[in-house]
C-alpha cells in the first residue's frame, strides 16, 4: 500500500504540473501581447536585466577568448578583406552622396519619408535568445526610450529584424533569419518584388515570387520593398543574392540570399522609430 502510494505521487505531481503548463499555454495564446503573461515577462526581464549585465561582464573575457581561439584565422582574413572593401567604398561614397540627394528630392516630391531622416534609438545587444528555435536578440532599450513593438531594427549595413516585445528597459528583436520572418524585398537592379523568408540560424534566406523573366545576378543586393502595409520602410538593404536558378516548369525563380548584416556579431543596433501605416 505504501509502495503504491509512493509510486502514484510522482504521477500526480506530473499531472498537476502538466495541467498548469497547458493552462499557461492556453492563457498565453488567448491574451496576445497585452495580457498578464506578457506583462509578467516584461517585469521579469526588467528585474533580471541588471543581473544579466553583471554576469555578462564577468563572463565576457571567457567568451571572447573562446571566440578568438576558434576564429583567429577567419578574423585575420576578414580584416584584410574589409580593408580592401573600405578602399573601394571610399570612391563609391562620393557617387552615392550625389545619388542620395537626387533620391531625397524625389521622395520629397512624393511626400515619402526618407530613410536617413527617420528618428532612431541606438541600443546595445545584451543577449541572444536562449532558444535555438526563436532567433531573437535582447537590447538594453525599451518603452522608456521610445521603442514600440513593430519598429524595424538596423545597423549601418542593413536590416537586422524588428521589435516583437518590449518592457520598460528592454526589448526583444526577432531577427530576419527566424523561420517565422517574412520580408517584402525588391531586387536592386530590376525593381522586381519578392518575399524573403528566414530558414533558421546560419542558413541563407529563401526569396520567393520573383519573376522568371527578369534577371537576378549573384551578389546583387535586395532591399526592403516598403509596399503598403509592409512591416519595414522601403530601401533598407536585406541581403545579397547567393544562388539563383529556374527549375523547368516553374513560373517563379528560386533565389537564396545571405543577410548583409553579420547577425552573429552584433554589438550595437539602431531601432527606427517608424511604424507601418495600415
Amino acid at each position: 500500500m505504501a509502495i503504491a502510494r509512493r509510486a502514484s505521487r510522482p504521477r500526480f505531481t506530473l499531472f498537476v504540473c502538466a495541467l498548469a503548463a497547458v493552462t499557461f499555454i492556453t492563457l498565453d495564446a488567448r491574451d496576445g501581447t497585452s495580457g498578464f503573461i506578457d506583462t509578467t515577462k516584461g517585469v521579469a526581464r526588467d528585474v533580471y536585466s541588471p543581473l544579466q549585465g553583471a554576469v555578462d561582464s564577468a563572463l565576457e573575457p571567457i567568451r571572447n577568448a573562446a571566440r578568438g581561439v576558434r576564429s583567429q584565422d577567419q578574423l585575420e582574413a576578414e580584416n584584410a578583406r574589409l580593408r580592401q572593401q573600405l578602399e573601394d567604398a571610399r570612391g563609391d561614397a562620393l557617387e552615392a552622396e550625389n545619388n542620395g540627394r537626387e533620391l531625397r528630392a524625389l521622395y520629397d516630391l512624393f511626400n515619402i519619408r526618407y530613410l536617413p531622416d527617420l528618428p532612431r534609438v541606438t541600443a546595445r545587444v545584451i543577449a541572444s535568445t536562449s532558444s535555438n528555435f526563436e532567433l531573437t536578440l535582447a537590447i538594453d532599450k525599451g518603452e522608456n526610450d521610445g521603442i514600440a513593438v513593430g519598429m524595424p531594427v538596423v545597423t549601418g549595413s542593413g536590416l537586422v529584424g524588428r521589435v516583437v516585445e518590449t518592457s520598460q528597459s528592454r526589448s526583444t528583436i526577432a531577427m530576419i533569419t527566424d523561420p517565422s520572418s517574412s520580408i517584402g524585398v525588391r531586387v536592386g537592379s530590376t525593381g522586381d518584388i519578392g518575399v524573403a523568408k528566414g530558414t533558421g540560424p546560419g542558413q541563407p534566406m529563401d526569396v520567393d515570387l520573383l519573376d522568371i523573366i527578369l534577371p537576378v545576378a549573384v551578389d546583387e543586393i535586395m532591399v526592403t520593398s516598403g509596399l503598403q502595409s509592409g512591416a519595414y520602410p522601403a530601401g533598407i538593404p536585406v541581403g545579397s543574392v547567393r544562388t539563383t536558378d529556374t527549375p523547368p516548369g516553374q513560373l517563379t525563380r528560386n533565389v537564396t540570399m545571405n543577410p548583409v548584416v553579420d547577425l552573429n556579431r552584433l554589438e550595437f543596433v539602431q531601432v527606427l522609430q517608424w511604424t507601418s501605416t495600415p
Binding site: T13, R45, S130, F133
Partner: protein, 167 residues
C-alpha cells in the same frame, strides 16, 4: 519543502542564469548549447521522479519567461523529461561515471523532439527544418559533455540518500 529541495531549486536557477548569459551567447555551427535540458535529467537521476518534475517545471517556467515561445511549453517538456529520468531511479545499483552522459545525450535529444513536436502543434511555426538535426546534435553532445559536472552539482545539492540512481 526541505533543505535539499531548496538547494536543488537554487542550483536550477543558477544554471538558468548561466544558460541565458554564457551558453546562450556561445555558438557552434550557428547553434548554441542548451544546458537547461540537462537540468531535469540530472535532477531525475539524482533525486528521483517527484523532485525532478517540480524542478523541471520551475526551470522550464523560468526559461519560458525569457523566450518568445508559448509560455508553459518548456515547463511541460521539462516536467515530462524529469519524470522520465526519475523513472530510472533504483534500476541500477551502481552507475558508471559515463552513464550520466549517456542519459543526457539520449534525454536531451528526446526532450528536444518532444518540445519541437508540441511547439509545432501549438504554433504555426515550421520547426522541422534541416537545421533541426544540427540543433539536436549540438545540444545533445554538449549536454553529454556537461553531464558529469552537472550531476555532481546535483549530488552536492541533494542530501545523500539511497533512493537516487547516481549516488
Amino acid at each position: 519543502m526541505n533543505l535539499s529541495t531548496i538547494r536543488l531549486l537554487w542550483l536550477g536557477s543558477a544554471l538558468v542564469v548561466l544558460q541565458l548569459t554564457f551558453f546562450g551567447n556561445l555558438q557552434i555551427a550557428g547553434v548554441h548549447p542548451d544546458l537547461l535540458f540537462l537540468v531535469p535529467i540530472a535532477a531525475g537521476l539524482v533525486a528521483g521522479s517527484q523532485r525532478a518534475i517540480v524542478i523541471g517545471f520551475a526551470v522550464g517556467m523560468a526559461a519560458d519567461l525569457f523566450n518568445e515561445t508559448p509560455f508553459g511549453l518548456t515547463a511541460l517538456t521539462f516536467s515530462l523529461l524529469g519524470h522520465a529520468a526519475g523513472m530510472l531511479d533504483g534500476k541500477t545499483i551502481r552507475a558508471p561515471w559515463w552513464l550520466g552522459g549517456l542519459f543526457a545525450l539520449v534525454g536531451s535529444a528526446l526532450g528536444l523532439i518532444v518540445w519541437v513536436v508540441v511547439a509545432s502543434v501549438i504554433t504555426d511555426r515550421v520547426l522541422f527544418t534541416p537545421s533541426l538535426l544540427v540543433v539536436l546534435l549540438v545540444v545533445s553532445a554538449g549536454n553529454a559533455l556537461l553531464a558529469p559536472p552537472v550531476v555532481k552539482m546535483f549530488q552536492w545539492a541533494y542530501a545523500p540518500r539511497d533512493d537516487g540512481l547516481l549516488r
